[in-house]
Subunit: 131 residues, 2 copies
């Protein structure tokens, strides 16, 4: 089987919390699924998407899944991130070349509305009230 | 018991997906917990936070929990939303007055890193690859 890696993408922020969220989530994925996970950020934080793609390719990854850690689609997930990945609008896949390396790059959907996310939100409401 | 309502807060967007996410999540909360949930948006979408607070108060809600549907803290959750709620930096609670009504307003934390969110992300990666 070809070597697969996940590129977990965050929004980035002038504050540390988005980067912490993305790195903690990457650690959860590495631990539970024993997969290669790199992180990258659209704004402010590093590595950039280009830097992280290059690292994954240099590590011998042949199939990369770019996975946006966003709740919903928006301008970032539909335009800004695909532009940086080199994926055309409305497409979900491309092939990238670095020297002699050809890598298949797939682009995943954001999280979306989900009952378990609603339940986490509900717990946050209860905690705020000490309900 | 005093009447409690949740004000579920979204980022807002020029595209419809953030509003859809917030409204679907609000419906999940209403259905599962039989609670009052109103939605509001920081940018672009409506109702605004001020409009939704007023509606909740007019409906007789005495305790409001403002619940940010964001993955992590950032400038929006730490500065922009508290400013619109009238909650001081580093505080989580205030009392608001509309005419003769006094309402207790609490401010909840965002979702945060969570193993179940990591699992949803992992499913999105698998779907992208048809793994």
């Amino acid at each position: 089987m070809e070597k697969i890696g996940i590129l977990l993408l965050g929004h980035g922020s002038s504050l540390p919390y988005n980067k912490e969220l993305v790195e903690e989530t990457a650690n959860m994925l590495r631990k539970k699924h024993e997969i290669i996970v790199h992180t990258a950020f659209l704004n402010k934080d590093t590595p950039t998407i280009q830097e992280a793609l290059k690292e994954l390719v240099n590590d011998g990854t042949k199939i990369i899944v770019a996975l946006p850690l966003f709740l919903a689609h928006g301008v970032h997930t539909l335009h800004d991130i695909p532009a940086q990945l080199g994926i055309k609008n409305n497409e979900r896949k491309t092939t990238i070349k670095y020297g002699d390396n050809h890598v298949e790059l797939f682009y995943a959907e954001p999280l979306g509305a989900d009952p378990v996310i609603a339940e986490i939100a509900y717990q946050r409401a209860r905690e705020a009230l000490r309900w």
